[in-house]
Amino acid sequence: MRRILVGIKRVIDYNVRVRVRPDGAGVVTDGVKMSINPFDEIALEEALRIRERGEADEVVAICIGPDDAQQQLRNTLAMGADRAILVKSGEPVEPPAVARAFLKLIERENPLLVILGKQAIDDDSNQTGQMLAALWDRPQATFASKLDLKDGIARVTREVDAGLETIEVELPAVCTTDLRLNEPRYIKLPDIMKAKKKPLDVTDLASLGVDAAPVLQVVKFEPPPQRQKGVMVKDAAELVAALRQKGLV
């Protein structure tokens, strides 16, 4: 079975304006909308397209998170994933432990490809895919904006600082997604009904034999420093004069 594993993280919805809690112990989450990390939604969409092209047989969505993340996994099933696995954890899990958990599931599922988002929009770490590839001793193709599979090889175009880089990696491999890889599909109502019948397995980190005790301690969160609002100028001449006075032009 040619299988693709997709990583799903439950995060504060990207439209929510995140605010630091007054006690600095975290950010405000009470009553805040939670969603699938946008880069992970792109990862799932890409996996579905590969399966729909006949280049894979099964797409499995995997989330490491709280019990409530079953909601996000149901959404992946409604989008078209064949089955889902929730690895329960009450506490946030750091990227190295997430990578170790994925490695355990890889040993069980034997995938052709693992697609993850390049970063989660909460901790913005951008680490898990690369760490997983290292532990698995397999290739990594990060920040992908184009992904083609052929004859056991993935040809991946990557968004790098210089522009677009194209590499070839032997499968199995880990791929992480950038924004322009695709536009995820919308979920249709009948698919939500169908998704209720699809398998969603629940396990936990201890059952996988993964020690997820945090290594980095977050001491505090603070709001970012704000820039002061400047002055309005009336026309182009005044603007250029002001910049010239400051030696900027």
């Binding site: 995140v18 605010r19 630091v20 950010v27 750091e94 990227p95 190295p96 929009i121 909460d122 913005d124 770490s125 951008n126 680490q127 898990t128 690369q130 997983l132 590839a133 290292a134 532990l135 290739p139 990594q140 990060t142 920040f143 904006s145 968004e159 790098v160 600082d161 210089a162 522009g163 677009l164 880089e165 194209t166 590499i167 070839e168 990696v169 491999a173 322009r180 290594v215 980095l216 301690q217 977050v218 001491v219 505090k220 603070e222 709001p223 970012p224 820039r227 609002k229 400047g230 002055v231 309005m232 100028v233 182009a236 001449a237 603007l239 250029v240 004069a241 910049l243 900027l248 032009v249």
Partner: protein, 312 residues
């Protein structure tokens, strides 16, 4: 003593400007001794440039034809081998460093702190999270190797100093053959690099077409500036993706940033908040970009750009 190893980014025999910024960051770690790792095909010029950065104790040059163009899977085991005896392994928070450093961290079984914007002690760092809407202070365990990426926009480049010695350690590392470089799109034609330019002119959705975006290029060329774009302008196809400024694109800190026809979404502002002076030109006086601009000008960009050029 804290022994810091910085992985040098370079292309076509030139050291990337991010390296001198990583040195500035490393120099704020107490009692630091800084080494720079240059992994290259030849690397003589790159190693010499790295050795000339003030505060660098030595350069470790590893020559191998497989090292160029840079592939994380090929470089990571070599960096992990060089990391022995070092307390901290640093790389720039560019796509090069973001790709490579977590792979190194996993090989070393070390935790990674991403996007360091300030060093508070050898184990305590500040970094942006939630697209810059919060700053987290994180504490790493003492006595354990640590990998970090440096948010280059938070640091000035270290100046030139007395040349440090270049050593060529022998590495006995098996390199993988499972990853192959094919091509990279052509670089900007003679314009300054967006990530390191002193001046940047950026265009947004209000440019309304790819053809109109030439106005941004013309003004940028007049100012000797790099070109940037908002995510909206990139998504609309007016500018190519490597020009995108913002949390999901490039985070920059130029002396002068001119935002034209950019409303100022949070994710864009995150990418420019370290700019020294921000100029905003927009026809909507209520645009959020004006909240962070040092100089704001309300009006039609199609008439204002030529007027600015006339006054230069």
């Amino acid at each position: 003593m804290n022994r810091i190893l910085i992985v040098a980014e370079h292309v076509d025999g030139k050291l990337n400007a991010s390296v001198a910024k990583c040195v500035s960051c490393a120099a704020t770690i107490p009692d630091a001794e800084i080494s720079i790792a240059v992994l290259a095909a030849d690397g003589a010029a790159v190693a010499a440039a790295a050795a000339a950065i003030q505060g660098v104790a030595r350069v470790l040059l590893v020559r191998n034809p497989a090292n160029e163009p840079a592939l994380a899977a090929v470089l990571a085991p070599q960096v992990a081998a060089l990391a022995a005896g070092h307390s901290h392994v640093l790389g720039p928070s560019t796509t090069f460093g973001k790709d490579l450093m977590p792979r190194v961290a996993a090989l070393l079984d070390a935790p990674q702190v991403s996007d360091v914007m300030a060093v508070e002690s050898a184990t305590r760092f500040r970094r942006p999270v939630y697209a810059g809407n919060a700053i987290a202070t994180v504490e790493a365990p003492p006595g354990r190797q640590l990998v970090a990426t440096v948010r280059v926009a938070s640091y000035q480049a270290a100046p030139a100093g007395k040349p440090a010695p270049v050593e060529m350690p022998a590495l006995d590392v098996v390199l993988p053959a499972h990853t192959r470089f094919l091509s990279v799109s052509a670089a900007q034609n003679g314009r300054p690099d967006l990530q390191t330019a002193a001046r940047v002119v950026s265009g947004g959705r209000a440019l309304a077409s790819k053809e109109n975006f030439a106005l941004i290029q013309r003004l940028a060329d007049r100012l000797g500036a790099a070109i940037g774009a908002s995510r909206a302008a990139v998504d609309a196809g007016y500018a190519s993706n490597e020009l995108q400024v913002g949390q999901t694109g490039k985070i920059i800190a130029p002396e002068l940033y001119i935002a034209i026809g950019i409303s100022g979404a949070i994710q864009h502002l995150t990418g420019i908040k370290d700019a020294r002076t921000i100029v905003a030109i927009n026809k909507d006086a209520e645009a959020p970009i004006f909240e962070v601009a040092d100089y704001g000008l309300v009006g039609d960009l199609f008439s204002l750009i030529p007027e600015i050029e006339k006054n230069l």
